[in-house]
């Protein structure tokens, strides 16, 4: 049970708004870790802090024991972190396979001068083969040459996952991967994520769909108003009074807990 990602007393304020307050938790290697919380709890802010799009006001983020708090996003990717976005951010003019190849950027090293010689080298060929494999994995093999903007919504989400996987990450951050998907698509997504986890990729995901989270995650961290209010396995979280209160308000929480103990 080695810790892959450590978030230590992380805080972020935007002027007066404390979006994240003193959040700490560990993500164990090889696990699926979920972050849940009501709207505005700070989940996306937390993700942006972990992936380097935002700088924390205080606290640290470490990957494999190395403090990465000051590193720009591209350097974190080089250390084995990849992410998807809540509001899909594909390179929409590019074809589907070009998006995946862009995700492979850190693995490609063809020097500048070599690109001047016509007929791409072996590296580009290998990259294309690997990209095709990833598209196969997410079920987009037949769309490789389609312009990515013309994909259906669920397909765009899966392409984002394939693009993130292209960098061979140790940990994959998924920001609301099931958002806007129908139940069937959500099911397929859960199957895909389980498959990735079996391949040894640690997953950290933010999600609203409770069934999806409870079903998939080994460990859950609950945020409310930027604070970690609970942490544990799905079963513990489901019966945690603070969590129920955060979602449903104190009155309902009290009633539910009474019913449960009766």
């Amino acid at each position: 049970m080695t810790t892959l990602l450590t978030v230590d007393s992380l805080s972020k304020s935007f002027r007066g708004v404390h979006a994240i307050r003193d959040a700490s938790f560990d993500v164990t290697a090889g696990k699926v870790h979920g972050i849940i919380g009501p709207n505005g709890a700070g989940k996306t802010t937390l993700f942006n802090l972990i992936s380097g799009l935002l700088e924390p006001t205080s606290g640290t983020v470490s990957l494999n024991g190395k403090d990465i708090s000051a590193l720009p996003p591209y350097a974190r990717t080089q250390l084995g972190m990849a992410r998807t976005f809540q509001n899909i951010r594909l390179f929409s003019e590019m074809t589907v396979i070009e998006n995946v190849l862009t995700g492979m950027h850190i693995q490609l090293h063809t020097p500048f001068w070599r690109t001047l010689v016509p007929f791409a080298g072996a590296e580009e060929k290998q990259a294309k083969a690997k990209a095709a494999e990833l598209l196969e994995l997410v079920g987009l093999a037949d769309k490789a040459l389609t312009r990515s903007a013309s994909l259906a919504y669920g397909e765009q989400r899966r392409l984002e996952i394939a693009r993130a996987l292209a960098s061979d990450p140790k940990i994959l951050l998924l920001d609301e991967p099931a958002a806007g998907m129908n139940p069937l698509e959500t099911q397929d997504l859960a199957v895909l994520l389980k498959k990735l986890n079996e391949r040894g990729i640690t997953l950290l995901l933010v999600e609203h769909d409770m069934r999806f989270v409870m079903d998939l995650c080994d460990q859950i961290t609950v945020l409310n108003f930027g604070k970690v209010i609970a942490e544990g396995e799905p079963a513990e979280i489901r019966s945690n009074s603070a969590v129920i209160e955060a979602y449903l308000g104190p009155k309902v929480a009290e009633r539910l807990l009474k019913e449960a103990s009766a």
């Binding site: 929409s92 862009t102 950027h105 690109t115």
Partner: protein
């Protein structure tokens, strides 16, 4: 036949030189815009190349094959120096700060009279830039942009142009790419400036100001930036247009301006809106 060609060539020599030089400038603009940046400093880099080239030829009498690389090197050095602080800016802010560079240089050219000839500029520059040299360089630059554009580097550049944040998350070293693009664009503009100086025999401090910067930008706006050929086509159209419209006499600038406005309104992605194809 040959006589007819000679005649044509003699009449339009300036124009033919101009199109080639502007093509190089358009590529220099393309290089910056290809990574999603907007610079109005290309005229300033061109001026640096022109003055460097002219001075090395006139004062030191160096051969052209030394002068030309030197006039690429000096703007590249300046791009490296200003790149650090300015590339943190984006959008119009970068554009405005690069306008500043042009103005600073203009004042230096005017006041450093002993070296630059002040407001009178430098004249008597030998005509060393032949048409074949200009077009050979343009062709080489085009092919290089095309080849690089098809590679992983071109892919990274296009990714930055589309979504800089996502490109960074993909592991693309965004600041390094931006700086690299600015330096290459400065080299190209410097070469274009040097060629222009050695094909018109005169350069002055006011040739590389804001107006020229906007003209260079309009090459890329009119042509588009989907492929490297597009801005060169834009340069061709915008350089040849005033000549084609010559019969309209005083109205030609009005028509010229109208064509640009109409093109930008109705062809927002340029007259050549294609995208660079990568075999995949």
């Amino acid at each position: 036949m040959a006589e007819w060609l000679d005649d044509f060539f003699f009449t339009y020599e300036t124009l033919i030189h101009g199109i080639g030089v502007h093509g190089l400038l358009a590529l220099s603009m393309y290089c910056v815009m290809a990574v999603g940046q907007l610079s109005l400093g290309q005229a300033a880099f061109m001026g640096l190349g022109a003055y460097t080239g002219a001075l090395l030829t006139l004062k030191l009498g160096l051969p052209f094959y030394v002068v030309l690389p030197a006039s690429a090197f000096v703007p590249a050095l300046i791009a490296l120096l200003i790149g650090g602080p300015t590339l943190r800016l984006s959008g119009v802010y970068l554009a405005i700060s690069t306008v500043g560079l042009g103005e600073v240089l203009r004042v230096i050219y005017i006041n450093f009279e002993s070296l630059t000839g002040g407001a009178l500029g430098l004249s008597g520059i030998p005509m060393k830039a032949s048409v074949s040299l200009i077009y050979a360089l343009l062709l080489i630059a085009l092919i290089m942009f095309w080849a690089v554009g098809r590679s992983r580097i071109g892919r990274a550049m296009e990714a930055m142009r589309e979504d800089e944040v996502a490109a960074g998350v993909m592991g693309i070293n965004v600041p390094v790419y931006k700086l690299g693009a600015l330096i290459v664009s400065a080299m190209l503009a410097g070469i274009a400036g040097c060629l222009a100086a050695h094909s018109s025999s005169f350069i002055g401090p006011n040739e590389y100001g804001f107006e020229t910067a906007v003209t260079i930008l309009s090459f890329a706006l009119l042509g588009g930036i989907g492929t490297p050929l597009a801005p060169v086509l834009g340069a061709l159209v915008l350089t040849a247009l005033p000549e084609v419209l010559r019969p309209l006499a005083d109205f030609r600038l009005v028509i010229n301006g109208m064509i640009i406005v109409v093109a930008i309104l109705f062809l927002p992605r340029g007259v050549l809106p294609l995208r660079l194809r990568r075999s995949a």
